[in-house]
Amino acid sequence: MTDQTKQKLLDAALKLFSKNGYKATTTRAIAIEADLNELTLFRRFGTKENLFNEVMIQNNERVKEHFIKITSIDQKFEDHKGFLKAYIKGIEKFYLNDFEIFNLMVNEDYKEFDQDMGEFSLFMGEFLKRNIKSENIDHLALGIMINTFFYMINLSKYQGRTYMGEGSTEKFIDNLLLCIE
């Protein structure tokens, strides 16, 4: 089997697992989505559970890649506003391209996520501490508030809702700056 075929199956699985949940997604539906034979799926992955695990492993890698990109702006900004805008741009980009990854991670009972996400949260907290010089806030909580805000904004878009409207990012940044300027 080629890498391309394997990736097609992983992509299809991610899309459907994220949209319908692990339990409701069938290997048949995944094969159809990937435009492949169900036999091919079983030959390569064995079981639905195994396919799910491989999706999650790849997801983890992608999140790490994004994290590296997002934190490439480390200590490159003098002002908080500039930093926040660049940081949030990175987060928005992540959700624009890979919303399904994070959505799947939070919605499934995936035990490894607990520890993985915990480590990720701590890293983000340290990163924000280096770049936002503000003594009266907890940077870990700040990172979580930012991430959850953009997760929900993008969840709305993913589900075809637009109720927060345009300009929500700017307003969010302005709200944050009230605290950290």
Binding site: G118, M152, I153, F172, L178
Partner: protein, 186 residues
């Protein structure tokens, strides 16, 4: 008025729809969980689709009720910190008590729910502004920020994950409240 049997079916359906999605939750498993026969389920609710609609309608009604009674309370707060702390903590509890229906609302494609969610965000924004007026903060965005945070806190709890925030959920909530206070009273 819902009979006891209908309520058992509705409760079981809510749990299973949230857990497995609409397709994944079969009428057979729902009936089993409710300790009734599938025949009874269909007699009372006619179709699975109808059952789903009833589950949403009744539980959204309960959720909005809880929101009004337990979160959007009219009282004198000592200061903005007192208000925010009370508001967030009551919000966490109300969402926990109504988690499954909120989860279904935000994770489903449903135009009716979109309107309900939008309206609710407006009501929340107005409530916050009434209690801490005249601040430079954008109230609707603030409300959405708080709501998003509360949702994910509850989502982690729903999945039994306690480490995903790095610190304990309770500590994270306190720290988030500090940040909100900071925004309000900068």
């Amino acid at each position: 008025m819902t009979s006891e049997t209908e309520q058992k079916i509705l409760d079981a359906a809510l749990k299973l729809f949230a857990e497995r999605g609409y397709t994944g939750a079969t009428t057979r498993v729902i009936a089993e969980k409710a300790s009734v026969s599938e025949l009874t389920l269909f007699r009372k609710f006619k179709t699975k689709n109808n059952l789903y609609d009833m589950v949403l309608t009744k539980n959204i009604e309960k959720m909005l009720n809880d929101l009004n009674e337990s979160v959007l309370i009219d009282k004198e707060f000592e200061n903005s910190r007192d208000f925010l702390e009370t508001f967030v903590k009551n919000g966490v509890k109300a969402m926990r008590d109504n988690f499954e229906v909120f989860y279904l609302s935000v994770n489903g494609e449903n135009k009716m729910l979109e309107h309900m969610l939008d309206e609710t965000m407006n009501v929340i924004a107005d409530y916050i502004e009434r209690n801490i007026p005249g601040r430079k903060v954008d109230y609707k965005t603030l409300g959405f920020t708080i709501n998003s945070f509360i949702y994910v806190v509850n989502l982690e709890k729903y999945h039994g994950r306690t480490s995903s925030f790095g610190k304990s959920p309770d500590e994270t909530i306190e720290n988030a409240i500090d940040i909100l206070c900071c925004m309000i009273d900068h």
